[in-house]
C-alpha cells in the first residue's frame, strides 16, 4: 500500500542524503520526495511517498525515527490530512484546439503561466487524482514538457479519519 510520510528534520547538509540512503540501502522505493524549510529555518519538512506492505512501512517509520537528524515522523496515511502537488505542463495544441485547452485549464482551476505561438504553459495544483485526470485529458493535444513537484501533505486539525 502507498503511504505518505511527513518528516521534520534538522536543516543541515547531508540530511537528505542520509534519508535517501536509508531507502536505497534497504531496498525501499521512494515514489516522490519534496523538501523545504519550515518557519524555523533550522528545521525542514520532507514529504515522502513510498509503498510497501505493513511490515516494510513499519520498518521505514522506525528506521526514519532512528536517524539522529530526524525530529518527528508522521505517517499521514493513518491521519486525516490534505495533500497537494503542483505540475507545470507545456502543451502544444493545434490552432483549432487552443480554446478547448484553455477551457480544460479553467475547469481544473489551472492557470496559464506563459503562452507562445504554439504552446501554453499551465500550472495546476491539486491532489494526485486531479492532476492525473487533467494530464489524461491534455495528452491528445500534445504535451511537450511536464514537471511535477512531488507531494506535500499536512494533517487536518480536529478531524479523525473514519
Amino acid at each position: 500500500m502507498r503511504h505518505t510520510i511527513s518528516l521534520l528534520v534538522e536543516n543541515k547538509f547531508g540530511v537528505l542524503s542520509r534519508i535517501a540512503g536509508l531507502f536505497s540501502g534497504r531496498g525501499y522505493n521512494i515514489e516522490s520526495l519534496s523538501v523545504g524549510e519550515t518557519i524555523d529555518p533550522q528545521i525542514s519538512t520532507m514529504t515522502i511517498v513510498t509503498s510497501g506492505d505493513d511490515k516494510i512501512i513499519e520498518q521505514i517509520n522506525k528506521q526514519l525515527n532512528k536517524l539522529i537528524d530526524v525530529i518527528k515522523v508522521i505517517d499521514m496515511t493513518e491521519l486525516a490530512h490534505v495533500e497537494r502537488e503542483m505540475v507545470l505542463i507545456k502543451v502544444a495544441p493545434r490552432q483549432e484546439d487552443k480554446a478547448e485547452v484553455l477551457r480544460l485549464t479553467e475547469i481544473f482551476r489551472g492557470r496559464v503561466l506563459d503562452s507562445s505561438k504554439t504552446t501554453y504553459t499551465i500550472e495546476v495544483t491539486g491532489d494526485e487524482k486531479k492532476i492525473e485526470a487533467l494530464v489524461e485529458l491534455l495528452k491528445p493535444f500534445g504535451i511537450k514538457e511536464f514537471v511535477r513537484t512531488g507531494k506535500i501533505a499536512m494533517g487536518r486539525e480536529g478531524i479523525r479519519k473514519t
Binding site: V9, E10, F13, G14, S17, R18, G21, G25, K55, E58, Q59, K62, Q63, N65, K66, L67, I68, D69, V70, I71
Partner: protein, 576 residues
C-alpha cells in the same frame, strides 16, 4: 585566550577521559599529531594499517565498555577505516573515528588525498560530522562521544579539515542538547507486566541472550531472571559471556553452528524471551520454520530490531538492564510463581537432548584437532582470559568449545564477519588490560589479513598470544565446498602459507609450533609464561569441519553432524 582547533580537539578528548588513541599519521592531520607528540595524558598507539587501528579501538571498546578512539589522515587513511567501522556498526560497538580532511577550500576539488569520507561512511556509522568551523570542534567531539555510547551504541565519524584544526577560537566546553536524539531507556511498564504473566504461564520457555545484554551491562540481571524463572539460557555468538557458559542452565550457542540441544529447545519451546538480540539469519535458519509454537517476548533498545525478522507478541523497547530489573521485580514480588514440576519436566527434556547429542569431536593421537587446541586453552586459562577470534572455523570452534563465564571477555566480529579482526582487537584489549592474558584464536587465512600488526604488538611490548589453527585452507569456505559443491576446492587452498614461527621472529616476537597432539599443551604453557608477543602455529587436521551445522536456509533443527566412523576413535567430550 584563543587556541588552535587542534588544541581544542586534544583538550576535548581529555575532557572525555580519553587515554589511548589508535591511529596512523598523514599530511593533513599533522596539526593534531604534533600536539600528541609530547602529550603526557594521551598515548597514541601507532598501528601499521588504519584497518588495524579501528579493530584495535574496537577491541578496546568491547573489553572495557568505553568508546574506542581512532585518528587517521584523509583519503586512503580514511577509506582504510571503513571495514573496521562497518564491523563495529554491525555489532553496535561505540567508536569515535576522527579523520583528517583537506582544507575546506579544496573540498570537492579532487585535491590530493581527498575522499568524501562523510559520504562514504554514512551507511555504516551511527552518525557522522564534517567540522566546518573551528568553533564547532568541542561541541562535535562532545556530541560524537555521547551519540556513540548511548542508546544502541555505534561508531561515529568526524571529518576534520586541515584549516579548521589550524584556525583559532576560544575553548568552550558546551552542554549537549540534541533535540532529535532521545533513546528510550525505560521499557513500557504494562508491556513488562504482560511479559511477566506470559512467562508465568509458559511451560517450555527459553531465554535467548544477545550482545545487547553485554552492551547494557545486564549480566547480573540476566542471571537473576534465569534463576527466578528456572529457565534455560542460550547465548548468541555476540551474547557469549552474558550468562555463564558453565552454568547448568546454559545451552551454549543456538543457530547454524549452535548446539543440538539449544536448537531443539528453541523449536520445541512455547515462549522465547529474546533479550538484546536481533534474530540474525545465522540464529533463525529458515524463518518460516523458526520456533513454530513459541510466543515471543523481545526486549531491545532499538525499536527497528523488533519485528524486523520474526513476529513478536510482546515488544519491549528499552535498555536491557533497566527492563530486566523491572521484570525481575514483578516476577519476584507480584507473581511469586513456583514452577516446580512444570520446569523440571522441561529441563529433563533438555537434559535428554544434551545426552543425545553433546558437543563432541573425534579426538586423534596422530593429528591435532583444532577443537582440542581450544579445549586446552580453556583448560589452562580456566576461562580467565580475553579471547578474540578471526572469522571462520576458528571463530566457531572457539565459540563452541571455550566456555565464557563473564561478559567482555569475548571479542569477535559477529555481524559483518570480518577476517583480520581478531589480532588487532586483541592488541586493543591488551592495551586496556595490560595484566590480563589476551589470546587471539586465529586461522592461517585470517591472520594474514592484518599480520602487519605484529609490529604494533612488539613495539608496545604487548604479550598478546595468537593461536593459529593452521590447516592451509580458508577452512569454512572449504567446508561449504566439501558439503555443497562436490569437493571442488575453488581457490580455498592457500598452498603457500608463511612460516609463522619465522615470521614472528622476523618482527621480534616469539614463534612456537606444534605438529602433534602431545605438543599442544607444552606449547600453550610455554607461550603463557612468556611476557612477549607469541605466535603459536598449530598444524591441525586440514579436513576437520565445524559440526553441528545447519545448512543455510534450513530449519535450525535439521542439523548435520560429524560422520560416524566405522572404528570410532576415542571420543573426547568438551571440557566441563
Amino acid at each position: 585566550m584563543k587556541i588552535s582547533g587542534a588544541e581544542i580537539f586534544v583538550e576535548s578528548l581529555k575532557r572525555e577521559g580519553v587515554k589511548h588513541i589508535f591511529g596512523y599519521p598523514g599530511g593533513v592531520i599533522l596539526n593534531i599529531f604534533d600536539l600528541l607528540y609530547d602529550d603526557k595524558d594521551i598515548q597514541l598507539i601507532l598501528t601499521r594499517h588504519e584497518q588495524g587501528a579501528v579493530h584495535a579501538a574496537d577491541g578496546y571498546a568491547r573489553s572495557t565498555g568505553r568508546p574506542g578512539v581512532v585518528l587517521v589522515t584523509s583519503g586512503p587513511g580514511a577509506t582504510n577505516t571503513i571495514t573496521g567501522i562497518a564491523t563495529a556498526s554491525m555489532d553496535s560497538i561505540p567508536l569515535v573515528v576522527f579523520s583528517g580532511q583537506v582544507p575546506t577550500m579544496l573540498i570537492g576539488n579532487d585535491a590530493f588525498q581527498e575522499a568524501d569520507i562523510v559520504g562514504i561512511s554514512r551507511p555504516c556509522t551511527k552518525y557522522n560530522f564534517l567540522a566546518k568551523d573551528v568553533k564547532d570542534i568541542a561541541k562535535i567531539v562532545r556530541e560524537s562521544f555521547h551519540i556513540a555510547s548511548t542508546g544502541r551504541p555505534g561508531p561515529v565519524l568526524i571529518d576534520l579539515p586541515k584549516d579548521v584544526t589550524s584556525a583559532k577560537a576560544e575553548f568552550i566546553w558546551p552542554e549537549i542538547k540534541i533535540r532529535s536524539y532521545n533513546p528510550t531507556y525505560e521499557g513500557n511498564r504494562w508491556m513488562i507486566s504482560q511479559a511477566a504473566h506470559l512467562i508465568a504461564k509458559s511451560r517450555k520457555a527459553l531465554i535467548i541472550a544477545g550482545g545487547g545484554v553485554v552492551l547494557s551491562g545486564a549480566a547480573r540481571e540476566l542471571k537473576e531472571l534465569a534463576e527466578i524463572t528456572e529457565l534455560p539460557v542460550t547465548m548468541t555468538l555476540m551474547g557469549l559471556g552474558s550468562f555463564p557458559g558453565s552454568n547448568k542452565l546454559s545451552l551454549g550457542m543456538p543457530g547454524m553452528h549452535g548446539t543440538y540441544y539449544a536448537n531443539k529447545a528453541i523449536q520445541d519451546s512455547d515462549l522465547l524471551i529474546a533479550i538484546g538480540m536481533r534474530f540474525d539469519d545465522r540464529v533463525t535458519g529458515k524463518l518460516d520454520a523458526f520456533a513454530p509454537n513459541a510466543k515471543i517476548i523481545h526486549i531491545d533498545i532499538d525499536p527497528t530490531s523488533i519485528k524486523k525478522n520474526v513476529r513478536v507478541d510482546i515488544p519491549i523497547v528499552g535498555d536491557v538492564k533497566r527492563v530486566l530489573t523491572v521484570l525481575n521485580r514483578i516476577l519476584k514480588e507480584e507473581i511469586k510463581e513456583q514452577w516446580g514440576e512444570v520446569r523440571k519436566a522441561w529441563l529433563r527434556q533438555i537434559e535428554i537432548w544434551k545426552q543425545e547429542r553433546p558437543m563432541t569431536y573425534t579426538y586423534s593421537d596422530e593429528v591435532i584437532k583444532p577443537q582440542f587446541v581450544v579445549e586446552k586453552i580453556y583448560e589452562l586459562t580456566k576461562g580467565d582470559a580475553i579471547i578474540s577470534t578471526e572469522v571462520g572455523q576458528n571463530q566457531m570452534w572457539a565459540a563452541q568449545f571455550y566456555k565464557f563465564d563473564k561478559p567482555r571477555m569475548w571479542l569477535t566480529s559477529g555481524g559483518l564477519g570480518t577476517m583480520g579482526y581478531g589480532f588487532p582487537a586483541a592488541i586493543g584489549a591488551q592495551i586496556s588490560h595490560p595484566n590480563k592474558l589476551v589470546i587471539d584464536i586465529a586461522g592461517d587465512g585470517s591472520i594474514q589479513m592484518n599480520i602487519q600488526e605484529l609490529a604494533t604488538a612488539v613495539i608496545n611490548k604487548l604479550p598478546v598470544k595468537v593461536a593459529i589453527l593452521n590447516n592451509r585452507y580458508l577452512g569454512m569456505v572449504r567446508q561449504w565446498q566439501e558439503l555443497f559443491f562436490g569437493e571442488r576446492y575453488s581457490h580455498t587452498h592457500l598452498e603457500v602459507v608463511p612460516d609463522f614461527v619465522k615470521l614472528a621472529e622476523a618482527y621480534g616476537a616469539i614463534g612456537l609450533r606444534a605438529t602433534k597432539p602431545s605438543e599442544v599443551e607444552p606449547v600453550l604453557k610455554e607461550a603463557f609464561k612468556i611476557k612477549k608477543t607469541v605466535f603459536m602455529d598449530f598444524v591441525v587436521h586440514w579436513k576437520e569441519k565445524v559440526f553441528p551445522m545447519v545448512p543455510a536456509g534450513a530449519p535450525i533443527d535439521q542439523m548435520l553432524f560429524e560422520e560416524v566412523k566405522e572404528k570410532p576413535e576415542k571420543k573426547l567430550k568438551a571440557v566441563k
